[in-house]
């Protein structure tokens, strides 16, 4: 029998009251319940538009329902030394009622109730860093869904809808950042992950040791022109700003204008036929694609338009600061500000060139 690391124990080496009979991945709890799956995780609670982490260590369990062993029960309870498991959340889950999925915020996952959004629950992983968290979620999903892919599809649809509900920033309104120190919006789940009997209390705020926003994966198949030194890894703003800012159920209004509607083939075509302009732009393109026809075609290609859209979204997201573009402006970016800054820069350059000549 494999020895089980003592995650549940206290400093005195006790086993926290659990009896783990690891037969076929199913174990038995102290009250004789049949535990089908467990994930070590903490709770996240929605507070308006932010998430507050419950710093306690806990476990999410799926068990055979006590009343009817054809049904399943979901429980979450704190992991405390020397006591048996006491569920704080405890409810029957019907097949296909809900699905577990990772959230955009790294280290976090949600239990999404497909038909009853107000029952949604959120958690942050407390499993070791190299645990296969996706596999754990999938295992649970197979327990509570007859058709996992359908459930994920419906869950995905919903969270995509939420993610696109961006408020076009009004003049003078800033995205309110969570104030470090007073609002522990999110703990660094990674810091909590090391399995040891004495686990550090997470600091209420931290620029995460592992930046949730991954810098560009240069070298992993991505080619960036050598002259693009200014544009290598633009990392997103502080992780504490705007976390879950899109939750809140704003209804989608007319989406704001984006770069694809500005950089149209009609506008850009004539410019690309100009030799001197083309000359300046060639270094930003792959060697194989530097002929004029290639350029005009490029603007229309799905690959280019999709990157253009993504960049446009980033500017409009309210999460970027003007300073991240290397322009002489600061403050939260939006498309108009961004375009004006570029125009201003070009105007300055023109003025300088005129003075020098």
């Amino acid at each position: 029998m494999d020895s089980v690391p003592n995650f549940f124990g206290g400093n005195d080496g006790s086993d926290g009251g659990f009896t783990l009979n690891r037969v076929d991945g199913v174990s038995t709890g102290t009250n004789g319940e049949v535990i089908l799956s467990e994930i070590k995780c903490g709770l996240l609670r929605r507070d308006g538009t932010t998430m507050r982490a419950d710093v306690r260590k806990g476990t999410l369990r799926i068990i055979q329902a006590a009343l009817d062993d054809t049904l399943k029960q979901i429980q979450w309870g704190p992991r405390e030394a020397n006591t048996g498991f006491e569920a704080e959340e405890d409810f029957i889950i019907l097949p296909d009622e809900a699905v577990l999925k990772t959230m955009k915020q790294p280290g976090c996952f949600a239990l999404s109730f497909l038909e009853e959004r107000d029952r949604d629950m959120y958690f942050w992983f407390q499993e070791p860093k190299d645990a296969d968290k996706e596999a754990m979620l999938m295992k649970c999903n197979r327990l509570i869904n007859t058709n996992v892919m359908a459930a994920l599809g419906r869950g995905e649809e919903r969270s995509n809808a939420e993610a696109t509900m961006e408020d076009a920033p009004d003049e003078g309104t800033e995205t309110t950042p969570s104030i470090p120190g007073t609002t522990p919006a999110l703990v660094n789940a990674a810091a909590m992950a090391a399995p040891s009997p004495v686990e550090p209390t997470p600091a209420p705020n931290m620029p995460p040791a592992e930046t949730p926003a991954a810098p560009a994966k240069d070298g992993e198949g991505m080619r960036t022109p050598a002259s693009a030194a200014n544009f290598t890894p633009i990392v997103t703003s502080d992780a504490l700003k705007g976390v879950f800012a899109n939750l809140g159920g704003a209804t989608p209004r007319t989406p704001p204008v984006g770069l694809p509607e500005i950089l149209t083939p009609e506008l850009v075509g004539p410019l690309l036929r100009d030799e001197s302009i083309r000359g300046r732009l060639l270094e930003y393109l792959p060697e194989e694609h530097r002929e004029t026809e290639d350029l005009e075609e490029l603007i229309r290609t799905p690959q280019f338009r999709s990157q253009l859209e993504a960049f446009s979204h980033a500017i409009q997201s309210g999460e970027m600061d003007m300073t991240q573009f290397g322009l002489k402006e600061s403050g939260v970016a939006d498309l108009e500000k961004f375009l004006r800054a570029i125009q201003a820069e070009m105007d300055d350059q023109e003025a300088n060139d005129a003075m020098e000549s």
Partner: protein
């Protein structure tokens, strides 16, 4: 150790297969299951059915064939969502290795995993650096990562299912199920059914169910790269020299034009893959600067805004 999402595009898969060492294989999108079209693409090593989830899977409930794996069918459980496409590609290729050139990497992989159970095979795929790196090399560059990623076209949950013949049986390989599904025999003494005669009706039933549920789907065929056989045949005919007759000369012309078409398609795919991996952000900045230098930037913005508002007030809410 992450797998990124990649586009489910025949050009991507063709190059992906090449990147992991497979030779002589091409992927084609199928728009019809008519016999003529399938014949044109022969030999077909397998079919991959991909669909976006929008609701209930209209697929029929089928029993798992518990004997299949012991008969040599390679089946792996899907362990990672993002690896889905590559997993389906592998499930076809690794079951067709008697007909195509797997290459060193996949041959070694098949050997290494031959005694594993389905879940462990799935883990082996997830943990394979070579396969994962090839897969990830098709990811779109993301120079900016937001906390809240906006929804994209390719964000939908895709699922991929492979159909492949092995040992005179047609199997359906779905990484989310427990094992291979047996759709029936072919090529027995008393009939001249091909494997497609068995697979196509099974797929058509699936399509019918999805159409009623408005589920979008695509079908890809894994075929032999026909350019190889075309080149061989053309060379053969040209070798006959001056004594070649009219009809054979005509054949050369026809084959050459087919070959040219396939080469140009391959060229298109090559270009698409170059664009997929290129970070266009510096170019976009450069372009915006040029537009600004011409003093056209803010006016373009105003025009776009007006058009958008006009569209909205015409009742076209997004």
């Amino acid at each position: 150790m992450e797998w990124t999402t990649i586009e489910s595009d025949p050009g991507v898969f063709t190059e992906l297969a090449r990147a992991i060492g497979v030779r002589g294989v091409a992927f084609e999108e199928l728009y019809t299951l008519e016999a003529d079209e399938l014949k044109r693409l022969e030999p077909i090593y397998g079919l991959i059915f991909l669909f976006k989830y929008r609701g209930d899977d209209g697929g029929e409930v089928c029993a798992i064939d518990a004997e299949a794996e012991s008969k040599g069918v390679f089946f792996a459980r899907q362990m990672i969502q993002n690896a889905c496409a590559t997993q389906a590609v592998l499930s076809v290729l690794l079951n067709a290795d008697d007909k195509l050139e797997l290459g060193e990497t996949l041959s070694a992989f098949k050997e290494f995993t031959s005694e594993f159970d389905a879940e462990t095979k799935g883990l082996a795929i997830s943990n394979s650096d070579v396969i994962r790196d090839a897969h990830n090399s098709f990811a779109r560059p993301e120079p900016i990562v937001l906390q809240s990623r906006p929804a994209r076209e390719d964000d939908d949950v895709f699922h991929f299912v492979g159909y492949v013949p092995k040992g005179k049986v047609v199997y359906e390989l779905d990484g989310l199920r427990q094992g291979p599904i047996n759709h029936g025999h072919f090529g027995n003494e008393d009939d001249d059914k091909t494997w497609l005669d068995v697979a196509v009706p099974a797929i058509q039933r699936r399509i019918a169910a999805y159409s009623t549920n408005e589920i979008k789907f695509n079908l890809l065929a894994v075929t032999k790269d026909q350019r190889i056989s075309l080149r061989e045949r053309i060379a053969e005919l040209q070798g006959i020299g001056d004594s070649i007759g009219d009809s054979l000369a005509k054949e050369i012309t026809q084959l050459s034009s087919e070959l040219a078409y396939l080469e140009s398609k391959a060229e298109d795919w090559r270009n698409e893959n170059i664009r997929r991996r290129w970070n266009y952000l510096p170019f976009i900045f450069g372009l915006l600067r040029e537009v600004a230098a011409k003093k056209q930037l803010m006016s373009a913005f105003e025009i776009a805004k007006k058009n958008r508002e006009k569209g909205a007030s015409d009742g076209q809410t997004h």
